[in-house]
Amino acid sequence: MGRKRLLPLVLAAAVCAGQPARAEAHDLFYYLGYEVIQVIDGDNDSIVADIPIKGAAREASLTADRKFMYVATNRHFVNKVDLALNRVVDTIDVSNDGWDRVMFGFVVDPEGKTAYGALMSRTTDHGEVVIGNPVVAQFDLATGKILRSVVVPWGIAHLVSVKGGTTIYAFGQDLYKIDTTGSDLRLAETVPMFDKHMNILPFWDYAWDNGGVASMPYYTPEGMGLLLLDQQTGDLQDVRLKGQPAMAYSVILSPDHKRAYAVMDDVTVIDLANRTFIASVPIKEGTCYGINVSADGRKIYAGGAGSTLTIFDAQTLKPLKVLQMASDGMDVRRISF
């Protein structure tokens, strides 16, 4: 090939080099396991890193700059994971000051220096057991020390930060809205759920994976519904679904928010506009707690409970790949870079 023929190619390459790269998301999936978090590259669906961690991973919260993920383990440790190093760089314990605490509900404040936890506590006084009031507390992420707290009803199991962290939504028997803007935390509003016969296990919400919308399934004696919570506005959408319910631990939205994918023993596709079930396929490997979807919407990831991660084609619902993970798991989260 002569130099004259090469010139246009060289010029074209130079022009392309000067343009910004196409904004294609690169997905990394974080499988929250036992004594380990495993990282899966969404481009080739292979395990690319193991992050040793102490205990049973439960809840995860992402800092605003997406550099760190905080993972709660054993319901009282909080581990700071450096996402560039794929390593736990700090661990704190909310059991301190002579109190044993368990945390069902954890979310990092947008500033990234403190977090909120829904805590139950116990200690002993001269050999007698003392049970503390259930609280939602703000604690220091460097020390684990509680900074302030508000007494709440029993049974809270999940927290979502909304409106830039000015309000914490605490999901339990009812929904409790906690105002964080004053000097003290304040229980500002209670939204009834129990009286509506709503039955919910709100451990999985996928707020960051959904682009700022927390999604949770619930059940009533009549059927199934979805709670969709907009983190920016605090609006809570109640999507009551038609027809026989699909049993689901968790549910995630498609990137265009037109569909939802639910998981337990099956992966079930839900049409959000028509509030109907579209399709369902059993998971050959068995029950899964967690579900996620690729940023381009083409693949569904179902994993946790047992030690497998099954990747489905989102259109055909045919399994594409099954990853054998190092441990059983609680969830699979996606971060797109």
């Binding site: 396991g33 036992y34 004594e35 380990v36 205990g55 049973a56 439960r58 054993n74 319901r75 368990v102 069902f104 007698e128 057991v129 009803p153 029993w154 049974g155 809270i156 199991a157 999901f171 339990g172 028997q173 759920m193 129990f194 709503m198 039955n199 919910i200 296990l201 709100p202 059940y219 026989q244 049993m247 337990m264 023993d265 068995g286 029950t287 899964c288 707690y289 409970a305 047992g306 030690s307 993970m325 190092a326 441990s327 059983d328 609680m330």
Partner: protein, 108 residues
Amino acid sequence: MKTKFVEALNEKAKAIERLAAGEAKTAEALGNPPGMPQGCTTIFDTGWETNPRPTYPIGNCQASARDFLGCAGDCWWPAQVPDGLTNNPDFDVACPSIARDWRNLKFD
């Protein structure tokens, strides 16, 4: 009037009764106060893990082993699985995957 269903018959039992005389209640059953989490939901336990499929195991996760560590870690069924919150917090170290590692289970 409070009915007494159990009566102390021997000296040891009578001694325990004397020891407990006047003692106030120090423990509450789950469910009191109302709303304490029971079972697998935070609102009420209607059998979350029932499924409509008439295959084994009916009314549970498939397979049950896949749900074991999830239950143990959060102390859902403390009589049936290790209590990961209080008595067996490191249970998963030797057994991170129940289906694969169950032979490592060692409990007295």
